[in-house]
């Protein structure tokens, strides 16, 4: 299966979702999404960091400096309660839209 970028508008949701499992740094997030999607979804750094800045601005996650498993100084992002409810809302939104699209695809 070829690698693709994530569909527009879903990157923030995916990032928030992988953060639900615990604090991660940027590279780990990209890796996690890549692995979990069976190597389909490829996260571009050019879109990951603007998305992270947006998440910080909205207060959905907090950033803290820490040491990575490879002994590097990296920034860990930790989901906030606001981020949790935002994630729930986005997933609900996404599922509704997805279901609608599916319906159209099946019946049209």
């Amino acid at each position: 299966m070829p690698e693709t970028g994530v569909p527009p508008g879903t990157l923030v949701m995916l990032v928030l979702r992988v953060l639900q499992g615990g604090p991660l740094h940027g590279y780990a997030m990209a890796q996690r999404i890549h692995t979990l999607s069976s190597d389909v979804l490829q996260i571009e750094e050019g879109s990951l960091y603007p998305a992270l800045q947006r998440i910080l601005i909205h207060g959905w996650a907090k950033a803290e400096w820490g040491i990575s498993e490879t002994n590097r100084r990296v920034r860990f992002y930790k989901l906030t309660p606001a981020g949790r409810s935002q994630l729930a809302a986005q997933i609900a939104d996404y599922e509704r839209t997805n279901a609608a699209i599916q319906t159209v695809l099946r019946t049209a």
Binding site: G46, Y49, Q53, I57, G59, R72
Partner: protein
């Protein structure tokens, strides 16, 4: 809301966050390095991420602002001129707004100004502004829901032991100062207890009088002050900041009940027929004015039952708000005219700015071309230019405010307003200044450049012509209007008024004020004969109307009625044209002026005709001693009767300087009745006072005209310089090929002909329209005055030619070889 705080937090700690982001991304690149594709330019990626903070616009704006600052700094001549031009235009308008604001928009600084009203006597045929004191007192006692009734009587009195110093005085009710919310500087102010009949005569004086006459000494207040020669106890000093019910600054206030103490024999308090006091009051906020007027109708009707002869047919009392110094309705035409004139200065400034910017594009065209070529977008250039003009506008607004406040203060001072009237810088002023300056700067500074961004050269030419024409229009209009005013004022002084005013004095002993009635005839006979015996006195006469006075009796045909003694005509050197002059007290006869004869009986002999029940026995030349500015006014003279004697004034013609005679005449008039404090003045001084208003108006408008002239001349000069530099090469080649310099110049300057001509015509029309309004408001101003129009054009043409000379000389000296090489 929280988002905004976080954004601000990011902005404030921007460099730290940028550094951290970069570090984070470098770590990411290092971890990924072995595996994936290259990361790309880390700086570009970081900038894109930073965009998420949403501060990009601010960053660009600051960048533009820095660039604009540098540009303006590097072109100091342009910046200084542009800011000067803008602040001139804005400053003049702000000053006018300050005056307008203080006079007509702000409420008087008194408690509850919105409830303050003034009452007028109205009837279907007339409006009377003053009440007799007994009538005021009647309404005060039967005032229904009207509260705080106040009377104010304007007069002048002599103060000090020598009685040679006349000051403006007000007789007021005891509640006046409390209602005005005034606090004393020293001592106490008047209160209702001072108004009681048995109270000793007291007065309060202004801070200015206290300082000038008593040296600002508190102990001096314990000595009585002589008012009209009578001792008054001064109980307090009114500070300069006091604002009363009139805009002038009186020097002395006395309870109205003590009128008799200053004017012995005064019948003010008992005379129902006199009309002397202004009537102010308060209408509680919850009562509509109409309801209050309806209530007062009942009171007027009740008074009619008691005193049928003292109430007009169909009289009612009209209530008008008095919370502002000048009511907006009354002052609207004057303010509209002033607004139009200062608006013209702003237009002139905008046009000048437009021309300045246009001339500068010669330099900037290249800069724009280069920036476009290296990849700047047009919108980015536009944004950059907007920022530049925003900066210019803000600078103009700031300097304009700095200029406007002292200018407005000077206007208040020049027009002799109360010292409490000072311009006040408020947020509205700041908003107006910013709006005017920034809009002018952006619209007129930016529009011409906008044209240069689209390379169609004709457009720019048209823009240039429009700017030039508008500039000429405003300059001509303002110059003509100031010319009209200046000439109006000088005409009154130069053109004979039809009577002798250089050698005459007017003496008014104020007999009526002192209650002298039947004895007046005898008094005048004695006083006049004693005055006539003095050396240097040529002739004298009695008249019911003081020349240049404010009192006047006029009928509907604008005929002014004079009751005079027969010597009146010789005293004022009014020529007898036909018939004879009446004898003293001769019944049933009258003398009329030539103007009245021509209007009433055109082409006929007026002698022997009857008018108003009198037979006309003589026709004299026109002599406008009152209503100087009114062309239609005519004179009608009847022999003075004993009943007119108490209100009469004495007119004296003398040899030499009239001012030398004032003390002698005053002493003689007083010797006949020691209670009197006569007022004696030379007519030429009174004329100067009377002309002060129009003269100030003329000065102020001339100043505006000078501003517009300066703007137009510099604008035109700049325009010519611009055109010449633009076409320097062409001029050089033409001259080298042997063209006559005159032809070359003609070709270069031809483009200015149409705009200048159009501007001149439009300016003249505008000025004529303004003149029509002015002619109604000010003495001696006529709307069509060829000299003013031609004068304005000559002035502008001369100025413009002088401004163009340097550029023209530069054009003629041009060396074609050098110009070509330069390119």
């Amino acid at each position: 809301m929280k988002d905004l705080w976080r954004r601000l937090w990011f902005l404030l700690n921007r460099s730290r966050f940028e550094r951290e982001l970069r570090e984070e991304m470098e770590a990411h690149r290092a971890m990924k390095g072995e595996l994936g594709p290259p990361f790309g330019n880390i700086l570009r990626l970081r900038d894109e991420a930073v965009d998420a903070w949403g501060w990009r616009w601010l960053e660009r704006f600051l960048q533009d602002l820095r660039f604009a600052c540098r540009l303006l700094w590097r072109a100091p001549a342009f910046t200084l001129t542009a800011v000067a031009v803008l602040s001139l235009g804005v400053g003049v308008n702000l000053a006018a707004f300050q005056v307008f604001d203080r006079l007509a928009l702000s409420m008087r600084p008194v408690p509850n100004p919105e409830t303050l009203v003034r009452l007028y006597r109205r009837s279907p045929r007339s409006t009377t502004t003053t009440f007799s004191y007994p009538a005021f007192d009647y309404y005060r006692q039967h005032r229904s829901r009207l509260s705080s009734a106040m009377a104010l009587m304007r007069t002048s009195v002599a103060v000090g032991d020598a009685e040679d110093r006349r000051v403006d005085a007000r007789f007021v009710t005891g509640n006046y100062f409390a209602e005005m919310g005034a606090r004393p500087l020293v001592g106490r102010l008047l209160d209702p207890a001072d108004e009681r009949g048995d109270a000793p005569p007291v007065a309060v004086i202004s801070e200015d009088l206290w300082r000038s006459a008593l040296g600002g000494d508190e102990r001096a207040l314990s000595r009585p002050l002589r008012v009209n020669g009578r001792p008054f106890e001064v109980v307090g000093v009114v500070p300069r900041t006091f604002v009363g019910l009139d805009e002038s600054a009186p020097s002395l206030w006395v309870p109205v009940s003590h009128h008799g103490a200053a004017f012995p024999g005064s019948t003010l308090r008992s005379d129902w027929s006199g009309g002397a006091v202004d009537f102010y009051a308060r209408v509680p906020a919850d009562i509509p004015i109409a309801a209050m007027e309806a209530e007062l109708r009942a009171t007027v009707d009740a008074l009619r039952v008691e005193r049928p002869d003292q109430v007009f047919d169909g009289e009612w009392l009209e209530i008008r708000g008095a919370g502002r110094l000048v009511s907006l309705d009354e002052a609207a035409p004057a303010f509209a005219l002033i607004g139009a004139l200062v608006g013209l200065v702003l237009v002139a400034a905008c046009m000048n700015l437009g021309l300045l910017v246009l001339a500068r594009t010669l330099v900037r065209d290249r800069e724009f071309a280069i920036r476009l070529a290296v990849g700047a977008t047009r919108s980015r250039l536009v944004r950059q230019l907007l920022t530049e003009h925003l900066l210019l506008g803000l600078l103009g607004a700031a300097v304009g405010c700095l200029v406007a406040m002292p200018a407005a203060a000077a206007v208040f001072r020049l027009t002799g307003s109360s010292p409490s009237l000072t311009p006040q810088f408020n947020y509205l002023t700041a908003v107006i200044a910013t709006l005017l300056a920034v809009l002018s700067s952006i619209v007129f500074g930016f529009a011409p450049v906008w044209q240069t961004l689209r390379p169609v050269s004709e457009r720019r030419l048209r823009m240039r012509s429009v700017l030039l024409a508008a500039q000429v229009t405003t300059a001509i209009a303002l110059l003509v209007v100031s010319g009209l005013l200046v000439r109006g004022v000088t005409r009154i002084v130069r053109v004979p008024l039809g009577f002798e005013y250089q050698q005459t004095l007017v003496a008014d002993p104020g007999l009526a004020n002192h209650g002298v009635s039947d004895a007046a005839e005898d008094y005048w006979r004695r006083a006049e004969s004693r005055i006539r015996q003095q050396a240097g006195i040529q002739n004298s006469a009695l008249s019911s109307l003081a020349p240049l006075g404010n009192r006047v009796t006029v009928n509907r045909e604008r005929t002014v009625f004079y009751d005079v003694t027969p010597s009146y005509f010789d005293t004022l050197r009014i020529a007898v044209l036909r018939g004879r002059i009446f004898d003293a007290g001769e019944p049933g006869v009258a003398v009329i002026s030539q103007g009245l004869a021509n209007r009433r009986w055109p082409g006929e002999d007026a002698l022997g005709k009857t008018y108003d029940g009198d037979t006309i026995v003589g026709v004299v030349s026109d002599a406008r001693t009152v209503r100087l500015n009114e062309g239609a006014a005519t004179e009608y003279y009847r022999p003075i009767q004993p009943k007119d004697m108490p209100g009469a004034v004495l007119i004296v013609r003398v040899e030499g300087a009239p001012q030398r005679f004032t003390n002698g005449i005053r002493a003689t008039l007083q010797a006949e009745d020691p209670r009197l404090t006569p007022e004696v003045f030379a007519l030429q001084d009174a004329l100067a006072t009377k002309l002060a208003g129009p003269r100030q108006a003329a000065q102020l408008v001339s100043l505006l005209g000078a501003c517009a002239l300066l703007l137009a001349v510099t604008g035109f000069g700049g325009m010519v310089a611009f055109t010449v530099s633009e076409r320097l090469k062409e001029i050089g080649i033409r001259l080298a090929l042997g063209a006559h310099p005159r032809h070359v110049l003609g070709a270069v300057l031809r483009q200015f002909r149409t705009p200048v001509l159009l501007g001149t015509v439009a300016g003249s029309l505008l000025a004529t329209a303004a003149g029509l309004v002015l002619a109604q408001e000010l003495y001696g101003v006529s709307s069509v005055d060829p000299i003013a129009h031609v004068g304005a054009f000559v002035l502008l043409a001369t100025g413009a030619s002088l401004a163009a000379i340097p550029s023209v000389r530069r054009a003629l000296r041009v060396d074609p070889v050098q110009t070509l090489r330069h390119e």
